[in-house]
C-alpha cells in the first residue's frame, strides 16, 4: 500500500527535462510524426508545474519555426514533413504560450490561415490536410488555431458548427464524424470547439444533460475514467472527460477524490512522469493530461488551465473572444 498519495512535482519536471537529453525514453514521444505535439505536451506540463523555463525558449521557438511547411502552409510535426492541422495547432499553441506569435512572419501567418481555411470542406467539416481524412479533431484544431490567431469568421464557423452538431449521437456523446461511435476525445474536440466559437447555446439543456451523463458515466468504481463504455480507464481521459464537463459546467458530476487517487497512483515515483494507469510505463502525453486533470479539479496547487484550449488561463485570457 502506498503511503499517503502526493503529486511528485519535482520528479515530473525532471522527467520532462530529461526527455531532451537522449534518454531511451526519448523515442517514446519523439517519433517524428508526433514531435511538435510532444513539445506542446511537454511545455504545457511544465507550465502547469510552474516550471516553463525548464525548456530553453529560444531553442523551442527555433524548432517550431523550422517545422513550418512553406509549400502548403501550416506546421508539420517535424522539419520537411507535410503540414497538417494537428501539428499546426501545436505550433501555434507553443508560440502563444511563449507570447511569440509574432515570430511568424506576415507571409507565413497568411499561409497558415489559408492552409487552415483551405482544409474546410463543403459540409463544414475539416480534413487534416489535402490527403482528405475527416475527423472532428480537425474541426477543433482548425477553430482553435484560428482563434489563437484572432481570425475566426462566420463563413468558417457556421458550417463548422453545423457539422459538429451532426456528430452528436443517440447516447449523448460525439464521434469523429456523423454516426461514428461516441468517444471521450471526440466529445472534448466537439465541445471545446463549440466553446471556443461561443456556440454552446446550439445545444439544448436536455442535450447538455445527456452529454453530461455520458461523460460522468466514464468514471469507473476505482475512480479512473475511460474513453468509451466498457473499456479500461486511462489517465488521458482525466483531461478529455473533465475538460468537457468543465465546458458545460458539470464538473461536480465526477467524484474528484477517486479520480485524483487514480491519477496519483499512475505516477512513477522514481523517475517521474505519469502513465495511462497504475504500474505502466510513463510518457509525456499522459503526464500532461494527468496534470491538467488535477489542475481542473483544483488540486495540488497547479497553474490554472483553460478547459477549452488546454493551455494556461494566463495565456488564453489574451485571446480575442469570438464573435469579435
Amino acid at each position: 500500500m502506498p503511503s499517503e498519495l502526493k503529486l511528485h512535482k519535482e520528479k515530473h519536471i525532471q522527467y520532462i527535462d530529461s526527455l531532451d537529453k537522449k534518454q531511451s525514453d526519448f523515442e517514446y514521444w519523439l517519433s517524428e510524426h508526433l514531435r511538435l505535439n510532444g513539445v506542446y505536451w511537454g511545455l504545457t506540463a511544465l507550465s502547469l508545474l510552474n516550471a516553463k523555463d525548464t525548456f530553453k525558449r529560444e531553442d523551442v521557438i527555433k524548432f517550431v519555426l523550422s517545422c513550418f511547411d512553406d509549400q502548403y502552409g501550416g506546421f508539420a510535426p517535424f522539419p520537411k514533413h507535410d503540414g497538417h492541422l494537428l501539428s499546426t495547432l501545436s505550433g501555434l499553441q507553443i508560440l502563444a504560450t511563449y507570447n511569440s506569435l509574432d515570430a511568424l512572419t506576415v507571409i507565413r501567418r497568411e499561409k497558415c490561415i489559408k492552409f487552415i481555411k483551405g482544409n474546410q470542406l463543403p459540409d463544414g467539416s475539416f480534413q487534416g490536410d489535402r490527403f482528405g481524412e475527416v475527423d472532428t479533431r480537425f474541426s477543433y484544431n482548425a477553430l482553435s488555431s484560428l482563434s489563437i490567431l484572432g481570425e475566426l469568421s462566420s463563413d468558417v464557423v457556421d458550417p463548422a458548427v453545423d457539422f459538429i452538431l451532426k456528430c452528436y449521437n443517440f447516447d449523448g456523446g460525439f464521434g469523429s464524424c456523423p454516426g461514428a461511435e461516441s468517444h471521450s476525445a471526440q466529445v472534448f474536440t466537439c465541445l471545446g470547439a463549440l466553446a471556443i466559437v461561443n456556440k454552446l447555446d446550439r445545444l439544448s439543456d436536455h442535450q447538455i444533460e445527456e452529454i453530461g451523463w455520458w461523460l460522468c458515466e466514464r468514471q469507473l468504481p476505482e475512480g479512473g475514467l475511460n474513453g468509451r463504455p466498457s473499456k479500461l480507464p486511462d489517465v488521458c481521459y482525466s483531461w478529455w472527460v473533465l475538460s468537457s464537463l468543465a465546458v458545460i459546467k458539470k464538473l461536480d458530476w465526477i467524484n474528484y477524490e477517486k479520480l485524483r487517487n487514480f491519477i496519483l497512483q499512475s505516477q512513477d515515483e522514481v523517475k517521474g512522469g505519469i502513465s495511462d494507469r497504475p504500474d505502466n510505463e510513463v510518457d509525456v502525453f499522459h503526464t500532461v493530461f494527468g496534470l491538467a486533470g488535477l489542475s481542473l479539479m483544483g488540486f495540488d496547487d497547479l497553474v490554472p488551465i483553460d478547459p477549452a484550449y488546454c493551455m494556461p488561463c494566463s495565456v488564453t485570457k489574451e485571446f480575442k473572444v469570438y464573435p469579435y
Partner: protein
C-alpha cells in the same frame, strides 16, 4: 524486412540527411543506420518529385520501418496516382496496391493512417466493391473488436456502396462474442438509422420500417435479459425510444420490463432512502434499469415522485459515484 531493399538501385541519389539545425538536440532521436539511409533517400526522392517504381518500393521500406510516418503515406499516394495513370490498367494496378495494403494492415493493427489511405484508394478505384473489403475488415475487427478506425471505415464503406445487407448480422456476431461491445451496438444504431431514413430508396415502406424498429426493441430487451447491467444495451433501447417514440419510456410495457430489475424500490418510504439505511436496501440487478425508469417517469407529471425516489436510490446506493448528477436531477424535479 518485408520489402527487399537494394540500395544499388538508388546509387544516383544523394540522401538528404535529417537535420533539425539545433545544437542542443531538443528533438533528436537515436536513429539506426538503416533507417537513416532509407529515410535520407526517401527525402531526396520527395524533394526531386520522383514518382517511379523504385520510389514506390522505397515507400514500402519506409512504411515497414516506420508505419506512422505520415508524410511517406502522402508521397506514396502521389506515386500511385502517377503510376496508375501510365499503367494501362488502372483497376489491376489499384487491386495490386490494395493487396499490398491488406498485408501492411494485418501487420500494423494500431495504425490508423492505413484506413484514410485505403479510403483515398477506393475513391479513385474505377470498380471498387464492398465484397473485396469485407474480409480484411472482418479479420481486423476479429483481432481488435473495438478498433475505432476499422469500425469507422466499415461505416464509410457501407454508406459509399449503399449496401447494408450484412450489417445487422455483423453487429450481432460481435455482440454474441461480447455483449458489452459498445462499438457493435453503435454500429447497429447506425444501420437502423440509415435503413429507416427518408433518404433510403431501397423500397422501404412504412410497414417495413416499423417492423425493423420493433424487432430492434425486442433485440435490445433480449440482450438486456441476458445481461441486465450493460450500459450499451440500455443506451441502444433508449436511443430507439428517443428517436422513434418521442422519448416515451412507457410504450408497450417497456417500463414494466425495466421495473422487474429494480426490486420494489418504489415501495420504500422516503425515510428508508437514506445513506445510513443504504445497507438495508436490496441489491439490484441493474442500476441502468433504475435510471431508465427514473428518466421515463421524470417526464410524466404524476410519476414525478417515483422518479425522485429512483434518483435518490441511485445517489445513496446504486450509483453513488455519480451523486452530483443524481442530485441535479432531484433538484430539477423538486423545483
Amino acid at each position: 524486412m518485408m520489402s527487399e531493399f537494394d540500395v544499388s538501385l538508388y546509387s544516383d541519389i544523394e540522401p538528404l540527411p535529417i537535420e533539425t539545425g539545433l545544437d542542443n538536440e531538443l528533438c533528436q532521436i537515436m536513429y539506426t543506420d538503416e533507417y537513416k539511409q532509407v529515410i535520407g533517400i526517401a527525402r531526396r526522392l520527395i524533394s526531386n518529385g520522383e514518382f517511379s517504381e523504385r520510389a514506390l518500393d522505397l515507400t514500402s521500406c519506409v512504411i515497414d520501418l516506420s508505419p506512422a510516418f505520415y508524410t511517406i503515406w502522402n508521397y506514396r499516394f502521389n506515386i500511385v496516382t502517377a503510376l496508375m495513370a501510365v499503367s494501362g490498367d488502372i483497376e489491376a494496378f489499384l487491386n495490386k496496391e490494395l493487396d499490398w495494403l491488406d498485408e501492411v494492415t494485418l501487420n500494423n493493427p494500431k495504425n490508423y493512417q492505413i484506413w484514410s489511405y485505403r479510403q483515398a484508394l477506393l475513391e479513385v478505384h474505377p470498380n471498387a466493391s464492398l465484397k473485396r473489403e469485407l474480409p480484411v475488415l472482418e479479420m481486423m475487427i476479429d483481432e481488435d473488436t473495438k478498433n475505432y478506425h476499422v469500425w469507422s471505415y466499415r461505416k464509410w464503406c457501407v454508406q459509399k456502396f449503399n449496401d447494408f445487407t450484412n450489417e445487422f448480422q455483423f453487429a450481432d456476431s460481435l455482440i454474441e462474442k461480447d455483449i458489452y461491445n459498445n462499438s457493435a451496438w453503435t454500429h447497429r444504431m447506425f444501420v437502423l438509422k440509415n435503413l429507416t431514413s427518408n433518404k433510403n430508396e431501397d423500397n422501404w415502406n412504412e410497414q417495413l420500417k416499423k417492423e425493423t424498429i420493433d424487432f430492434e426493441i425486442e433485440y435490445a430487451k433480449q440482450k438486456i435479459t441476458l445481461c441486465p447491467q450493460n450500459v450499451s444495451s440500455w443506451n441502444y433501447l433508449r436511443g430507439i425510444l428517443d428517436k422513434y417514440f418521442d422519448e416515451d419510456y412507457t410504450i408497450n410495457g417497456i417500463d414494466e420490463f425495466a421495473i422487474q430489475y429494480i426490486d420494489n424500490i418504489f415501495e420504500k418510504n422516503e425515510s428508508e432512502l437514506t445513506e445510513t439505511n443504504s445497507t438495508n436496501l436490496p441489491q439490484l440487478k441493474s442500476s441502468y434499469a433504475l435510471q431508465f425508469v427514473a428518466d421515463g417517469y421524470s417526464r410524466i407529471p404524476d410519476k414525478k415522485n417515483m422518479a425522485i425516489k429512483a434518483y435518490k436510490s441511485l445517489s445513496i446506493k446504486y450509483d453513488p459515484i455519480r451523486r452530483g448528477l443524481w442530485n441535479h436531477m432531484i433538484s430539477k424535479l423538486s423545483a
